[in-house]
């Protein structure tokens, strides 16, 4: 990060545009995926986010950033998965009020650091809603026919709280249940630990860690203790404290 400035100009997010909500699907009891059609589509990178801005009749606005869950695939539609936060001004509106056919102001794609371009091995570690940007990376890898490039470890409290439960399983993914694993699950419930990383530390890979601040800190500590080079760890911390 201290090397010379890049020869390319800094990325700029597009202008605000009015997208149309085309589909809403539940992922868990507290998470929904919102599929948006963009009038001015702009190719995104796996890991980037969009800002959603709500405007009240009196001009009051509220904006929040949400990661893109869909892979870069040339589509004019993107999917944002949004966790409903208690008192979340924007997330509760999206969950409780927004409906297909509605217009939503969005701006993006944003971010040039927590992105995976599909050109290196990647170790993806997500906790809770932190799996969302990693899902774009997994979907990209699978879409390229290169699932071998990624290793995704997802931490969730229980199966009911696991995002993308139907799509996650595969030889390149592992699920860690911290509280209530499904019946027959052999790993005892508990936080992500060093054994969960065994076999995942591929040479020259970049690690992408996403979740709450506590999850991100414990996951990066595990990686560093296991010898993963600190400069190759990229972190995105989510949400309230």
């Amino acid at each position: 990060m201290t090397e010379a400035p890049p020869a390319v100009p800094p990325p700029r997010p597009g202008r605000w545009q009015t997208a149309t909500l085309v589909e809403v699907r539940p992922e868990t009891a507290t998470a929904k995926t919102f599929r948006l059609a963009l009038p001015e589509p702009s190719p995104h990178l796996a890991g980037q986010h969009y800002v959603v801005r709500l405007t009240a009749p009196d001009g009051y606005t509220a904006s929040r950033s949400y990661s893109v869950a869909s892979p870069p695939d040339g589509s004019a539609e993107i999917e944002l998965t949004v966790e409903r936060l208690p008192d979340g001004e924007v997330s509760s509106f999206l969950h409780d009020v927004a409906a297909p056919g509605d217009s939503l102001e969005i701006r993006g794609p944003i971010g040039g650091w927590f992105v995976w371009r599909g050109d290196t091995p990647a170790l993806l570690i997500g906790g809770g809603s932190g799996v969302v940007p990693l899902m774009a990376m997994l979907r990209l890898a699978r879409g390229m026919g290169r699932p071998d490039l990624v290793r995704l470890i997802v931490s969730a409290r229980s199966q009911a709280e696991l995002y993308y439960a139907g799509e996650l399983p595969g030889p390149e993914t592992a699920i860690v249940y911290t509280r209530r694993p499904p019946p027959g699950w052999t790993r005892p419930p508990g936080r992500l630990n060093r054994a969960d990383l065994a076999g995942s530390m591929e040479k020259d890979s970049v690690a992408y860690v996403c979740g709450s601040a506590g999850f991100a800190d414990s996951a990066t500590d595990l990686l560093i203790d296991a010898g993963f080079p600190t400069p190759d760890i990229r972190v995105e911390r989510f949400g309230p404290t």
Binding site: M1, T2, P5, P6, P9, P10, P11, R12, P13, T18, R53, L54, T55, A56, P57, D58, G59, Y60, T61, A62, S63, R64, S65, E89, F93, V97, A98, D102, S103, L104, E105, I110, G111, G112, W113, F114, A213, D217, T220, D221, L223, I224, T230, P231, I233, R234, V235, E236, R237, G239, P240, T241
Partner: protein
């Protein structure tokens, strides 16, 4: 203006005048949004350096830094992700004090703040002088927690908070603007929250 179907402001009271446009009051929370692993820095080996276009390159140890005249900030901080934290207090030393000892050359126009992690952020020199910036090691009277940049971070509260480099290691004085970490990744070179300078081009 187009508005969002069904969206209403919850709090019908007057908006707090301390909130810049597009920001909300995070209350007692203090979100942690860092792009790198949290470093563990020992204060007995910690240093802070001012270098580049100065008459005198200066490096302070933790103890030397604490021997400088103390300075505090009380006010508000604003994160580009739209939270603001109102009525906070930090303690440390004014950047003016550090620059007075290093004596910037007339050619210096910008600074690049550098963190012990390698994080960088760029600022016009005028945004870190005349009582606008600090190196702080206490928050609310207690040691600054490591997740918030402890043992010491830069504090430039009139700009978006990514300018207030966590785990700050020093300032490089330059005769040009040089985009830092987030600025290379699409964020604004100045970052004035009252002008909503969030992204490049704003």
């Amino acid at each position: 203006m187009s508005f969002t179907r069904g969206f209403r402001r919850r709090d019908r009271g007057p908006r707090d005048a301390r909130l810049p446009p597009g920001q909300y009051d995070v209350g007692s929370d203090w979100p942690v949004l860092t792009a790198e692993p949290t470093p563990r820095l020992a204060t007995d080996t910690w240093t802070f350096t001012v270098e580049g276009l100065v008459e005198q390159h200066k490096t302070w140890t933790w103890d030397e830094m604490h021997a400088l005249p103390p300075s505090t900030f009380q006010g508000d901080i604003h994160c580009v992700t739209t939270w603001s934290k109102l009525g906070v207090s930090f303690g440390g030393v004014s950047v003016d004090t550090l620059l007075a000892l290093a004596r910037p050359l007339p050619s210096a126009t910008h600074v690049l703040a550098v963190g012990h992690t390698g994080y960088t952020t760029n600022l016009p020199l005028a945004d870190v002088t005349d009582g606008k910036a600090w190196v702080v090691w206490s928050y609310d009277g207690r040691p600054l927690p490591v997740e918030h940049g402890g043992p010491a971070r830069l504090l430039v509260p009139h700009l978006y908070f990514w300018k207030s480099a966590k785990w700050v290691a020093g300032l490089q004085l330059l005769d040009h603007d040089e985009p830092g970490f987030w600025e290379q990744n699409g964020y604004h070179d100045r970052g004035d929250p009252w002008l909503e300078q969030r992204y490049q081009g704003d």
